[in-house]
Every structure is written in structure tokens, then in C-alpha cells.
């Protein structure tokens, strides 16, 4: 079907202007200043930078080993001594949250990297190759979209007895690619008949070279947006699995703190600090990424941006 489309699109003029602006965005200071100029992405970047700083300096600002327990100081409300209070076992929640930050960011980013690599390769290849390759990839993507991810991950985690960080990165990376592949395929479809792609094709370049050398560099801002999207979804899913007691069980994490709070029904006893602080840490990180994503969207969709500015 897709072969029947006309090769030359009528609306080339605005699109070339659009790509030109994005080419300028490829240089490092260029894209950064672009992102900082937008209110939403600036906010997202600043908050994200703050979380990264926390993650880096975590071992120095955590006051206690996260699994140290102290029977004399259990269930304490936040105070100067324990900023975020203590758990049932008397562990310091501030230390747990701060150290969990490092783990969550690394796990989310690594899983998102795997998923994005898979999604970009499959999505762009499908869009460019068209025909049967496209049909197969599209079909598979849609099938994976109707298989609910969380139950699937719960079942997989149930089978895995040793769930280290690497295992969870792989499991998340290999399950979260489908919706991203669909987004990127759609966007690559709008590029595949552009002059520079046709020129490369006429010059006899191989499919892989066109996918990786021509299409991918021109979609870098869209791939970045997709990466940010999967990053925060991976953070949410990962924390969710830990909350269910089915995540990485070798490190202290935000989700794990809330899991133990839930198991010991601390909420029902009126203790709000064991779930509020790790939950807020997760929410702040996710909101930062959502704002960053919204900023990138506004930058690459002029319609969303212009009307905003006229306000």
C-alpha cells in the first residue's frame, strides 16, 4: 500500500525549514540553549540536574547505611535527627531515599537506552524498508501493545528468583520498546521520501547505511524525546515492581521502601513518612522528565509552541 504514495510531497518548503532548524540543534551548545530557552524544558532540566547531583553525592550525604536498623529508634516521625523519619526497623529513610536515587536513575536510563536502541532500529528500518518488513514489524509491535506490560513483568519476576539490577535492566529494556517503536516508525515514515533520503538511495547506499547514517541523525531530537518518555516509564514501572515486592531485591530502592511500608501496614497506623518521601522523590523525577518531554515536543511542533507564546 505504502508504495502507491506519490514520491514528491507537495509541502516540502516548510519541512526543509524545519529540518534546518533541527540541524542547528545537533551541536551540543545549540540543543542545550534551545532546551533552556523553553520554560518547560528548562524547569525539567534543572530539577533533573538536581536529582543527578543527589545521585552522585549520595554516599556522602546519607547519614547511615540504608539497611542499618536500630530497635531503639523505630517508627520515628521526621525530625532533625532523621530528616525523613525511620522505618519499622529503625532504618533512616533519608539515607534510603538518597541512595535509591542513584540506583533508580541508573536503572531507568539503562533500560531506556536498550528500549530506545531496539525501538529506533526496528521502527526506522520498518518505515524505510516498507513492504513486508514494515508489515511484520508493525504487526509485532501492535501485538506487543495489547499484551499488558505490568502483568507480564509481574509474571516474569515471579519466575526469576535472583533479581539483580542487571536482570531488571534487561527485562525492562526488552519489554518497553513496543510503543516507542510505533512512535518512531510514524515519524520516520514522514522522512523517508525526503530528497536527501532519495538521493542516498539513488547513490546506491545500503539500507542499513541509510537507516543509521541518514535517517537516524535527522531524527535525533525525536529519538531523544522517545528516550525521555521510556526513561520515565521505566522509572515508574521499576518502582512499581519493587512496590509489589517483585523488583531488584539486592539494592535499597524507592519502591522497596514503600513495599515494606505497605507490608507492615504503616499507612493504616497513620505513619505517612515511610511512603511519602520515597514516593515524592519518584514523582519529582518523573515530573521533571515529563516537563522536559513537553519542552522537546513544543520545540519540534511549532503549532504547540506558537499559540503558547501568543498567550
Amino acid at each position: 500500500m505504502s508504495q502507491l504514495q506519490p514520491i514528491i510531497e507537495p509541502e516540502l518548503a516548510p519541512l526543509t525549514a524545519f529540518t534546518a532548524r533541527k540541524r542547528g540543534g545537533l551541536r551540543v551548545p545549540g540543543w542545550l540553549s534551545l532546551l533552556l530557552a523553553n520554560r518547560k524544558s528548562r524547569f525539567g532540566l534543572i530539577v533533573l540536574a538536581f536529582m543527578i547531583v543527589i545521585a552522585v553525592i549520595a554516599p556522602w550525604i546519607s547519614v547511615a547505611h540504608p539497611t542499618d536498623f536500630n530497635i531503639l529508634a523505630t517508627r520515628q516521625a521526621p525530625s532533625w535527627h532523621h530528616l525523613f523519619g525511620t522505618t519499622d526497623q529503625g532504618s533512616d529513610i533519608f539515607s534510603q531515599v538518597v541512595l535509591g536515587t542513584r540506583r533508580s536513575l541508573i536503572l531507568g536510563a539503562a533500560a531506556a537506552l536498550i528500549a530506545t536502541t531496539l525501538a529506533a532500529t526496528l521502527g526506522i528500518l520498518a518505515a524505510y524498508a516498507g513492504g513486508i518488513v514494515d508489515e511484520v514489524v508493525n504487526f509485532l509491535t501492535n501485538v506487543f501493545l495489547v499484551i499488558p506490560t505490568i502483568p507480564l513483568l509481574v509474571v516474569i519476576s515471579g519466575y526469576l528468583k535472583a533479581r539483580g539490577m542487571t536482570t531488571m535492566i534487561l527485562v525492562l529494556g526488552l519489554t518497553l520498546w513496543a510503543f516507542e517503536a510505533r512512535i518512531l516508525r510514524g515519524q520516520a515514515l514522514s522522512l523517508r521520501n525526503r530528497d536527501f533520503v532519495q538521493a542516498a538511495k539513488v547513490a546506491g547506499e545500503s539500507t542499513w547505511r541509510i537507516v543509521f547514517g541518514e535517517l537516524m541523525p535527522n531524527m535525533i531530537s525525536r529519538i531523544t524525546a522517545a528516550f525521555v518518555l521510556v526513561f520515565y516509564i521505566a522509572l515508574l514501572v521499576d518502582a512499581g515492581l519493587e512496590f509489589l515486592g517483585l523488583g531488584d531485591n539486592t539494592h535499597v530502592s524507592w519502591g522497596m521502601v514503600i513495599y515494606w511500608a505497605q507490608v507492615n501496614s504503616t499507612v493504616l497506623q497513620g505513619e505517612w513518612w515511610p511512603f511519602l518521601f520515597p514516593g515524592l522523590a519518584l514523582v519529582v523525577t518523573v515530573v521533571a522528565l515529563v516537563f522536559l518531554l513537553a519542552g522537546i515536543d513544543e520545540l519540534s511542533n511549532p503549532r504547540l509552541r506558537n499559540i503558547k507564546r501568543s498567550k
Binding site: F139, N142, V143, L145, V146, I147, P148, T149, I150, P151, L152, V154, V155, I156, S157, G158, Y159, L160, K161, F179, Y232, L236, A239, G240, F243, L244, G245, L246, I258, Q262, V267, L268, G270, W272, F275, L276, G279, L282, V283, V286, V287, V290, N301, R303, L304, I307, K308, K311
Partner: protein, 328 residues
């Protein structure tokens, strides 16, 4: 009609993938799932259920037969809804456990998801129509922020503030203790009361996604010429918004319904765990923690079927709403 057949082929294939994935997963995993399951049954329990080991072997592998033989037996058992016995609910078979818990989940997610869809698309439509208005600047960011909250966190906040502090809602379980599930007024009213807070949490978690989606599409739709034409004809503003721009803008979000619904089913697991709600999500977590693999297998299949079925229903809605689909 061709479009319809294509969709049917797709769904048949999706069902097959779900079945086969479910068959392969325990075989691909490290360890010996069947030993984990049998460890939960005493020798006398195994003896009391002849054929149970064969059923487990067909489901989980580890038997002497070839994988093809297992696959045929597996499909045969599934066709008879025979998933074996749930070890954590002995002596109840898996199908009975699912039949008991699924209605709670379907009610919760069904009602909540329709409300979230209705609120989300309406807010998204109005926000795009009046950019910078009250809805666009207050309601949209609020719903979006709530949507970014992890479902279990929203649920815990709800339990703590609305349930524990304000005492507006019951906070645990699906109905008052002491009641027996059945079709009588005492049980149904209690169950309805207990479902309110979970439903509120699901709505607040999922309305934001629809808002964003609808608003983005609507903004693009508004600059279409037929909308300007409708204005030029002198139609009332509201009519142009709902019948011209809104009706067309709702189609792309509808196409994302299946993926959204799959997400809501996932969110359901977290919410049921927070509320100790006796649905299929809580059962899935308990089964996964307790090595009750026959039950996790059965539940995963049921979840996948529910999403596929809802997606099919959405296709039918699309068929009714979009003349282009009907014409093809």
C-alpha cells in the same frame, strides 16, 4: 469489510501470541518452576488429584515429553479451561480462583476507565478550544501532574488523606468483613462503597493521558479549514467544537485505547494491592510472590484476553464513528 477481516486476523494472531508466550515463558526462565510449584503441595494432595503433575508439566515444562507434545497438551488443557490447581488456594482450581476475583477487577477498571476517558477527552477538547482559559491553565496541569504520579503512590495518598484522615471512604478490602459475596443489597451496597476510592484513584491516574492526547490532536484539528468553514457558516461555537473539531479529534486518541487500557490493567495491580482489594490484580501479585505459577499463567492470559477484547470493542466503535473506515 476488508478492514474488518484484517482486524480479525490481527486479533486471532494476538491471541495466539499471548497463548504461546505464556507457554514459552516458564520454559525460558532459569530454574525449575515445576519443582517450585510441587513444593507447595503435600504428597497426599498430589495423590488426591490424579493427572495434576501432567497438567503442570504441560503448563510449565520439565516433563519427559517433547516441547511439541507439551504444546498440544497445553492447548488442549486450555481449551477445557483446565489450568490445574492453584497451590496457594488449594484445593481450588485456577479457573475457579480467576472466576471469583475477576468480576471485582472488571468492575473497577471498566467503570474507572470509561469515566477517565469521558473526563479526559472533554477536558482536552475544551482546553484546546480555549487556549489559556481556566480549564487550560488549571485543570489540565492538575490532571497531567496526577497522571505522572505512580498509581500506587496516588492510592496511598488517597488512603491516608481521604480515607484515614477525612474518613470519607473505606480504605481496605472489597466489602465489609462479615458479608458473604452474593446478589443481595447488603453486599452490593458495601462493595460499591468500597470501590469508590479505588475508582477515584484510577480516574485521577489515567484522565491526564487522555487530556494530553486529545488536546494535542484538537489543536491540530482547529486549524483545519472545515472548522473555519463551520465558523463562517455562523454555527454556534459549542456546536463547532463538539460536532466538527471534537468529533474528528477524538479518532486518534481512540486508536490508542488498547494501549491505554493495557496500562490501566497494570495500574490496577498496584491499586488492588494498596487497598487489599480482592480482585485479579492482588491475586496476581500474591501468586507471583508465592510461586503459584499455574495461577500467574492463567491470570496473565486472562489479562491479555481482556485487553484484546477491549481493543476489539474499540475497533467496533471506530467503525461506527469514522466513515472513512466504514467506506474502506
Amino acid at each position: 469489510m476488508r478492514w474488518f477481516l484484517r482486524r480479525l486476523v490481527f486479533y486471532a494472531f494476538a491471541v495466539w501470541v499471548a497463548l504461546t508466550l505464556n507457554f514459552l515463558l516458564p520454559r525460558l526462565m532459569p530454574g525449575d518452576p515445576i519443582a517450585g510449584v510441587l513444593a507447595h503441595l503435600s504428597p497426599s494432595q498430589i495423590q488426591a488429584n490424579p493427572g495434576i503433575i501432567q497438567t503442570y508439566e504441560a503448563l510449565l515444562g520439565g516433563g519427559k515429553g517433547t516441547i511439541w507434545h507439551d504444546y498440544v497438551v497445553y492447548l488442549h488443557r486450555l481449551a477445557h479451561l483446565n489450568f490445574g490447581i492453584s497451590t496457594s488456594n488449594y484445593p481450588a482450581p485456577v479457573s475457579e480462583v480467576i472466576g471469583r476475583t475477576l468480576p471485582y477487577s472488571i468492575f473497577l477498571v471498566g467503570v474507572a476507565f470509561l469515566i477517565a476517558f469521558a473526563i479526559g477527552t472533554t477536558v482536552g477538547m475544551i482546553a484546546a478550544w480555549r487556549r489559556g482559559g481556566a480549564v487550560d491553565t488549571v485543570v489540565v496541569p492538575t490532571l497531567m501532574a496526577l497522571g505522572a504520579f505512580p498509581a500506587f503512590f496516588t492510592a496511598l495518598l488517597g488512603v491516608f488523606f481521604l480515607g484515614l484522615k477525612l474518613k470519607w471512604f473505606p480504605i481496605q478490602h472489597g466489602y465489609d468483613s462479615g458479608l458473604v459475596p452474593g446478589f443481595d443489597w447488603a453486599f452490593l451496597s458495601s462493595a460499591f462503597r468500597h470501590s469508590q476510592l479505588p475508582i477515584l484513584v484510577i480516574v485521577s491516574a489515567f484522565a491526564g493521558g487522555w487530556v494530553l492526547n486529545m488536546r494535542t490532536v484538537m489543536i491540530n484539528t482547529i486549524s483545519e479549514e472545515y472548522v473555519a468553514m463551520a465558523h463562517a457558516k455562523g454555527l454556534r461555537d459549542r456546536r463547532v467544537m463538539t460536532r466538527y473539531a471534537g468529533r474528528n479529534a477524538i479518532l486518534p486518541p481512540l486508536n490508542g485505547f488498547a494501549a491505554q487500557f493495557a496500562g490501566a490493567v497494570g495500574g490496577l495491580v498496584f491499586i488492588e494491592v494498596v487497598f487489599s482489594y480482592p480482585g485479579a490484580g492482588l491475586t496476581l501479585q500474591q501468586a507471583a510472590l508465592g510461586n503459584d505459577y499455574p495461577l500467574t499463567q492463567g491470570l496473565l492470559l486472562i489479562f491479555a484476553f481482556c485487553v484484546i477484547a477491549s481493543s476489539f470493542i474499540m475497533d467496533l466503535a471506530n467503525f461506527v464513528l469514522d466513515p472513512r473506515v466504514r467506506a474502506s
